[in-house]
């Protein structure tokens, strides 16, 4: 097997908390994306038998075709990477991972005889424990049961993939996905002792968005997570300063008025006099400590709690700037200024829109964090949003796969190299 073969057959998979990004090197700059979820079909139901649905689990783009009632969504839909870590014995979650992996590889496996499996680079959360690596390698090996899909595989933490994609050896990567946010200082390798995780991500903003929808009279829609997420992405805003943004919104209601038609349906969402709450959605991700959120907590919205998963502590309420500072301060003092001077923001949770006529009060994630860090006395900062933050992990996987030589075999101590499976 030659370097040239590998170069043609590098395959990247980013197991994001919400989206599953995948595809071979040939896709260029943009991977395919499906939701990181699987639906367990009720095989005992009469309709399944009548329609001859033999699959136990459905993943990928056709998943919506199999959905049943809203109630069954909650029972049968499994999001395996919700917080980046899968329990060792969570067989349903592992089945979804297996099915998604097979779906991804089969979609792109060439039919020509020369094909002898992909060089698969998978990326998972920085806080994923070792058993997740072992389990994933087991799954990758299983992919070869029917035909060879994986020649060799390697697994890298998501923040490292981001740093690789941007070729920045010394930086802090803040990877904020659906379920959580990881803050990872990197100096050639991730500094594992300094990694800090927040139990807050896009899903926290979705929860708040759902409350806002309820308040605006759309309680029925607030139960559908994918719709809530869509509304958040379309109308949610990140304020430069929350108080000023609210004042602005109240003084200029027509400018912040939020109205959204959901294509292909009759649904129109109009926040009306509640339109000022658009600013709360972004703020909540960066800093949930503002007193305005108290009213939501008192009314029953769950507060992001501190939790421990495996050996990792996920902070619920720590603001994002504070988390970066705490993480950087665990690194050698000499290194700290270099880390502050390159902060990379990656993940879909940093893609906040700034409408042209709201530039005064709404900002992008890099500007927000810069100002939060300045307020805490940190100077000489450069915060950068990665190009297409949703895809930077996948791009890093591809670059890593291209660069790691075929004879560099997997080493469990260093957690790098290719593990040959076929």
């Amino acid at each position: 097997m030659s370097e040239e073969y590998k170069r043609e057959h590098v395959f990247g998979i980013d197991y994001g908390t919400s989206d599953f990004k995948y595809g071979p090197i040939a896709l260029g700059e943009t991977p395919e994306v499906v939701e990181n979820r699987g639906y367990f079909v009720d095989k005992e139901s009469l309709m399944s038998k009548l329609m001859d649905i033999r699959r136990e689990i459905v993943v990928g783009k056709e998943l919506p075709l199999f959905l049943e009632s809203r109630k069954s969504l909650a029972e049968r839909m499994v999001y395996p990477m919700r917080n980046g870590v899968i329990g060792k014995d969570d067989w349903k979650a592992w089945r979804v991972v297996e099915e998604l992996t097979k779906y991804a590889l089969n979609s792109f496996a060439p039919r020509d005889e020369e094909f002898d499996g992909f060089y698969l680079v998978a990326s998972i959360s920085m806080v994923a424990p070792r058993y997740m690596y072992e389990k994933l390698f087991e799954i990758f090996k299983k992919m070869n049961d029917e035909k060879t899909l994986v020649k060799a595989a390697t697994i890298i933490p998501q923040p490292l993939a981001v740093a690789i994609a941007h070729k920045i050896p010394t930086c802090v990567v803040v990877e904020s996905g659906h379920g959580n946010s990881q803050i990872c200082p990197i100096s050639m390798y991730p500094i594992r002792d300094a990694v800090l995780a927040l139990n807050r991500g896009g899903s926290s903003a979705n929860i708040l968005m759902a409350e806002i929808l309820k308040d605006a009279g759309y309680g029925d829609l607030a139960k559908e997570e994918s719709l809530v997420r869509r509304v958040k992405e379309e109308i949610g805003l990140l304020p430069r300063d929350l108080d000023s943004a609210i004042d602005y919104a109240k003084a200029n209601p027509e400018k912040v008025h939020a109205r959204l038609k959901i294509p292909g349906t009759r649904i129109v969402i109009d926040l009306g006099e509640h339109s000022w709450t658009r600013f709360l959605v972004g703020e909540y991700v960066f800093n949930p400590n503002h007193e305005i959120f108290q009213s939501y907590f008192t009314r029953g919205m769950p507060k992001p709690s501190d939790i421990k998963i495996g050996d990792t502590f996920f902070y619920g309420m720590m603001d994002m700037a504070e988390a970066i500072i705490e993480s950087v301060e665990k690194c050698p003092i000499e290194l700290q200024p270099h880390l502050y001077s390159k902060i990379l923001l990656s993940g879909g949770n940093f893609s906040w829109k700034v409408p042209e006529d709201l530039k005064e009060v709404a900002v992008t994630s890099d500007l927000k964090l810069t100002s939060m860090l300045h307020e805490k006395g940190i100077e000489d900062i450069e915060v950068r949003i990665t190009e297409e933050p949703r895809f930077s992990v996948w791009r890093g996987c591809i670059v890593y796969g291209y660069a790691v030589p075929i004879d560099y075999e997997w080493n469990w101590n260093r957690m790098e190299g290719w593990l040959y499976l076929a």
């Binding site: 370097e3 170069r7 040939a26 896709l27 260029g28 700059e29 943009t30 395919e32 979609s107 792109f108 060439p110 039919r111 020509d112 070729k167 670059v399 291209y402 660069a403 790691v404 030589p405 560099y408």
Partner: protein
Amino acid sequence: MNRPINRLRLICKLRGRARVRDEELLSKLLSKNWKIEGRIAELDGSTVKFLSMNPSRDEFMLTLNLKKPEHLDNIIKSIIRECWYIDIYYNFRGDEARRVAEILRIRFEEKGVFELKLFGINLKVSAYPSFKTLTVSYRIGWAEVSKNIVLKVHEKLCGAPKSSILSKIMGWRR
């Protein structure tokens, strides 16, 4: 061609090991009219981004976002002087993929890899119709570059500029 071609990737095999740092490679290879800042070069809105060098430092990968086809010609002619060969990868999505499949007379109905000849060179075409994706790749050396093959293939795949004399002579239309 009025729209940017932003799904183009080059893999360049150097004649020897690169002796400069990654950040210096583009300045060493590209012509003076490119404005280079580290790993990114820019010319009239077109950009070249250095993605990675292999560990033996004799091969590197670039990603291109081009505003004008002649920029591709300019890049290739500059780089090939230092290379044994360059592999050029195009990635087309959506309607573009279907259009290119039609141009190349490829059935875009099921997944497959096709090999065909165009202007005397071997093109490898990978079709993924369910994702509306088509990848076209080929290898060129000095001989192909000196025959202006790159521009011909590019214009065939991506369309020729309206004012191009080549397009008028060849009668290519989009």
